[in-house]
Symmetry: D2
Subunit: 270 residues, 4 copies
């Protein structure tokens, strides 16, 4: 059956014949392979145009920043999955990516939307970034929403990755409105939230990439691409030094059963 | 409960404290971010050491080669999934990666194992690559196994991506035993299989990367990382120009029901 | 690192020792296995209590209703995935379930929330179900939201599965406020939307199950459990009569490339 | 492009028109909904025929047996995934199912193949089940393969679920060749392996279902269907009493970093 009202049967990413593969209008074999870096290719695929040297360098810095941070939940889920299903590396990678959601890693896109709201408020009201940031953050708080891109459970005083991305962007000439918006949000947060919440890596990725001209709607792809590299690395280690079931054992020990049980039953799951 | 016999509760990829994140022994913020490309970082993550310029260029070429080839099954599965579940980009990426298996894309690792067998046979028997390739291919055929990395449904006469990878490897100085093994396999196939089967991209990726010093067990990660970029690009297009249900309608029309039905029933699913 | 503010390290679903497994307070081996049906067990697992005979029969009817409807997108994604990755049946099932989202199949929960809003409006305003339904539907329309659980691309005049579920619920004594709310929504839709939109299976599942005492928050699990059975059936057929790549070929033919291409390039992907 | 040699564009599971949905030849609305249980429907979908009362009872017992066993790795992966990506229940279910692989839960199919080998050896050699079991187990050991369906990390002395399934099968009249084969394997294991390995639930499911006439190739679907119910129950609990990040914290504490680090670096990830 035909579902919905989709009426444009087109795609504009790739076409081919037996001799030639065309990606975003470029000849894959004759021009791209051996001619551009993978990061150039990522920008071309998702944004549709070839990046400048500075744009590529900015995307490189964000992909490197977000790839790896140790045994985070998505890595644990992936390693447990491979231990249980070693026949399917792709299944374990998929299990890890499924945990790149709105709470973890997906925050880059949500933070981009926040920063865009601040930039638009500033453009409209011309009251300056401080006023725009305060207004947008106050609105988020009224709606009971978290402020995405600020605060971190480990890097509480400052997130060194965020500072470095801002510094790299400055060197590359990408300190524009989105960075100003992010810094204004960081400054207004203590007064509104009652405690400092420093810009984290998921706040710095959108402000630097948006100032570099990367599409807002493509932000969510950045952590997904970066994390796949990390997941593959962890899963290769899992193939030779498996810790999936040690992780699972440690996790289970942290939780107790508090439901009903038959009289006299004594739990002993270890 | 504790499952299995895992007894080494260690990982060696990343550690951190609030000030410093260490990836494979390198300072992520102080050294890697802004200092290396994403492709350097991928090599570092999966192989554990920093690549040379030539190694990075070889990995770039393979990642670019394998990223994108139009509306292949994994892209279709991902786009259908996003159309049905637009709330979860990560779920659609995961659905696409689940189709990177032993038949499609996963062939890179299987081809690497084939080439390694040829290289080992050549080292042991010293009868030359031609004899080694013939011997290994004949063994695969006796066991009823496909010859991974050779033949392609569209690029029948030659796979231009494979030729280009061999050419890039030659320019970078990586034409070693694995490339010789792959070329010997290609030459012996017509005589054994009865028809020419040219080296495809999944045959050229392992031979060039193995000659460049990339770990054999990491080969399967290369298409997974590359394809994530392609899936993200297609899913961003799907968000603005959705074709998921058009794909599904086209697919359903290709199939008829041939099971039992009540008397008088006339199918009409369109 | 410790993420978030979770502070109750408990679960209440299952505990065990080497002799006894306790599920929701019941002895799995001594009482449940051989004593209850799988549908009883599903209700026990998700709702925490054992169902009555009528409750079990209502859940049976909804699970049977929603299991299978031919080559829908999630089934196609699953079959394509197995064709590409035959080593992992669980990966193909997962790919199929990832398409049970807010647009397809997930509508049962969204429809449940709609019906709850109507029931609450009726309880508060005491203006009758007609007025309550009109008020809630008008609010949805003002917010630009679809009306979940009504309308179907194939079953336009009426969805026979919805009618049957309402009939089964009546026979079992479950025609309560949620069914009244759903019927009131169906009656008010032509006047508000401008065309008839009949109750579909995703509207009938929540109204009948909620009237039967099933938890609202568990509604989204019903299609996921039911569809897993369908996906397994299709994937077993795929193992012996594979159509995954025929589906993919049919889908690709429905789409044209409309992006840029080098001068003289002629696409020929078939 | 057209991949592979698939040439039968048919499916035999479901067809429909606006009035009627046909599942395996049966009228879904007129006959199945309200007429059969979900377990009947599962058997019909995967095996193609309606089960007898005894067959349905046997399938019920195995589905109930394998649904739930507390915080096993797949449940942990699913709960961590939902904590990180609460917008997609289906993604968390998929992450959990991806861990139903060859090592955990998938053993039912592997055990079925083992038992079939014993039954065939017995049919051919007519030397009795003891000799057949010893011969097949010895062959597995020579090939370095595990003996699927025997041994359990918690239920070491005996797996009460396995014993109960054998008992239910006996009551239902399903103690045939596959059960004899499984019991013969259990008896011969101490002599060959050097320690007792009792039949576990993944050994008892195939022997009882195969004796009941369930298709061998459908065995792997049984734990997948059963586990989906368990995953949904755990994820509903996760929505109201989240433990995903507590699990993750407990897991991470069980593992130390043993890779290189800059001089003076002190890890402090907690």
């Amino acid at each position: 059956m035909k579902i919905g009202k989709q009426d444009a049967p087109f795609q504009s990413i790739c076409t081919s014949n037996p001799e030639t593969i065309v990606v975003r209008g470029h000849d894959l074999v004759g021009e791209l392979m051996g001619g551009v870096s993978f990061t150039d290719h990522i920008w071309l695929l998702v944004a549709g145009t070839m990046p400048t040297d500075a744009q590529r360098a900015m995307l490189d810095a964000t992909l490197v920043a977000i790839s790896e941070h140790g045994l985070v939940p998505s890595v644990q889920a992936a390693r447990m999955t491979l231990a249980a299903a070693p026949e399917a590396l792709q299944g374990a990678v998929a299990a890890g990516l499924l945990g790149c959601g709105s709470v973890i890693l997906g925050a880059a896109e949500a933070a981009g939307l926040l920063l865009q709201a601040v930039v638009e408020e500033n453009d409209t009201a011309e009251a300056g970034f401080e006023a725009a940031a305060s207004s947008v953050v106050a609105r988020y708080r009224e709606q009971g929403r978290a402020i995405p891109g600020f605060g971190h459970p480990l890097h509480k005083g400052h997130d060194p990755r965020a500072e470095k991305l801002i510094s790299v962007a400055g060197r590359l000439g990408f300190s524009g409105d989105y960075t100003k918006a992010a810094q204004a949000v960081e400054r207004c947060l203590p007064g509104i939230v009652g405690k400092p919440l420093v810009m984290n890596v998921s706040g710095a990725i959108p402000c630097t990439l948006l100032d570099a001209g990367f599409p807002l709607k493509a932000l969510k792809g950045v952590p997904l691409i970066a994390r796949t590299a990390s997941l593959v690395a962890h899963l290769l280690e899992e193939q030779t030094r498996s810790i999936g079931f040690i992780l699972s054992h440690g996790a289970a020990k942290a939780i107790s059963y508090d439901g009903p049980a038959p009289a006299g039953f004594v739990a002993n799951e270890n």
